[in-house]
Symmetry: C2
Subunit: 334 residues, 2 copies
């Protein structure tokens, strides 16, 4: 292995022939240092390969230099959804511009919850991004209990957090439904995700909005999980209960993919017999057959905006909640 110990600021100062305070000022690019000392210190830093110890710095400044991204979900497998990967990528893109590190906390289990609690109480991070909260999620309340900035990704069901970024779920879903109506479909069903989720409930509401305006019957509804399996099962139930359906608004691309499979299994053609539109516009939407007409939400951007908002919060600013627009992407399934 390499060098046994990193040089300390004292050693740098000694080598440069200045006081530790002066060296510190140079490192932090602060004022009140002569150019001569500045150069001397800079040289010593290079020669010694000095890198400031973040722990010591954190202790002195009371700033950790890290933020946490906490993903809360009851089912660990859900994390496999590329949706989360995109979120992480977005967050990371924004964080890369800074010196902040990313702490990942999977808060599904009670284990994970306790861990997040600890992180908050012990100030192990300068801020928190919290995602995917179910209605009863105890994490939602955590935000207020500690003196640490928290931004939500998506809204919890029965609370309006002070800071959040979300996609326009309701508007997007309404768009999708209107598109189906415009296509001449009249027996339009909806397969929602979990209704104890704001995304699930809001997307359902968007469907109701459009159906109401068009004066159509909005009662053909099935609930399921945000998964392919959930979608397939829901579609099968739908077909049994309402054989007349000629279109379905799916709560997510995964759900849509599942319905496609179930539809094919029951001998219905898409979009001939039944038109399907999804929600998310992840890569999955391109890999179905036929390719999915779907509502695009800027997932990567969602991650980025969460990070941005957290950064501005940490900087002491007062950002406003943000709702990102969604739009319909026309492909083959509707």
């Amino acid at each position: 292995m390499g060098p046994k110990r990193q040089p300390t600021l004292d050693e740098v100062a000694a080598r440069a022939g200045v006081s530790r305070s002066a060296a510190s000022r140079v490192i932090n690019n602060a004022r009140h240092v002569s150019q001569a000392k500045r150069d001397a210190v800079a040289r010593a830093v290079v020669e010694l390969g000095f890198v400031p110890n973040p722990t010591a710095r954190a202790l002195a400044t009371q700033q950790v230099g890290a933020v946490v991204l906490a993903l809360s979900h009851h089912d660990p497998a859900l994390f496999t959804d590329p949706f989360f990967a995109q979120i992480i990528l977005g967050v990371n893109a924004e964080l890369e511009k800074t010196e902040l590190e990313l702490l990942l906390v999977l808060a599904n289990s009670t284990q994970g919850q306790a861990r997040l609690q600890r992180i908050l109480k012990s100030r192990r991070a300068d801020g928190v991004m919290l995602m995917a909260l179910h209605g009863d999620d105890p994490l939602a309340a955590l935000a207020d209990q500690h003196d640490i900035p928290v931004v939500f990704g998506g809204r919890p069901l029965h609370a309006e957090p002070r800071w959040y970024v979300d996609a326009d779920n309701r508007g997007g879903s309404r768009l999708a439904t209107e598109h189906l109506i415009g296509l001449g479909r009249r027996h339009i069903a909806v397969i929602t995700g979990q209704m104890d989720t704001d995304a699930g409930a809001s997307r359902h509401r968007g469907y109701l909005d459009a159906m109401a305006v068009a004066g159509l019957d909005p009662s053909r509804v099935e609930h399921g999980e945000f998964t392919e399996a959930g979608g397939a099962a829901a579609m099968t139930r739908l077909l049994a209960a309402y054989p007349e359906v000629d279109a379905v608004v799916a709560g997510s691309d995964a759900i849509a993919a599942g319905s496609l499979r179930a539809l094919k299994a029951h001998g219905r053609t898409v979009p001939g017999d039944v038109a399907v539109v999804g929600f998310d516009d992840l890569l999955t939407a391109l890999h179905t057959d036929p390719q999915l007409t779907t509502v695009h939400q800027p997932v990567h951007g969602l991650g980025r905006e969460m990070a941005k908002m957290l950064l501005s919060l940490i900087a002491g600013e007062e950002p406003h909640p943000l709702i990102l627009p969604t739009r319909l992407v026309h492909r083959a399934s509707a």
Copy 2:
């Protein structure tokens, strides 16, 4: 917001009427404390809601209480592969048993590389897990330069790191090829992933092994990326160059999914005209049509074992490199 400041150990000690040292001993469950003081401190801890400050503790003990998982890849989009999600899930499962936090570093860009460097030099973590190294990846050399445990997930191309965990890529691929041979196929092609990757090269080698034993022509080969698009393109080239192929060994499930798509586009049936076997056995393998016969590698376990190995390294032990077994999963495509 909540309480402005967390109580310190001194305050706990004062309230319990003991010295700070004694309080510390109780917190760390060390010996040489009377039961009476133990109780007094415990009570004070609860009353004050004390949680030790990890930063201060880290500074004193020289142990950060965090490890990093670094994912290196040239293309950020690759991170979307559920493979990584599974790795993370596995790592997290093991870490949840400890007090260690997970630092996620996406080291694709030079930005990310520099960041990882900094983390290593400044000892921002107690250990590192490094994944997905291409042949020329500068990260591979990093391990030796710093006095910090590093375990590799998969092997870099031209180096045998001291500690790594990998799947039996060569053996698995050989199994897949043998299966195809057993099926009576004789014009078996291979679509590899990037050959500057150990996984890519090893899986190709497994194919060569089996073909050599059977005395078959192993020259039908195309290279691509570990993606669906790469697989589709490679399959198309394959079909043009060797129209007689009756089977293909794919370097991954994504590649296999791509070939399936290309095969269908060219009017070949699967497994009738061409049998296909994948590698990974992720959820994707279930969502293709037909479902994929594929080599299962324990991705979640890979993550878990990486974490385990790192933990044991941190504990001062000397674990051995680990190669996890792979096995063939029979489904419809071969």
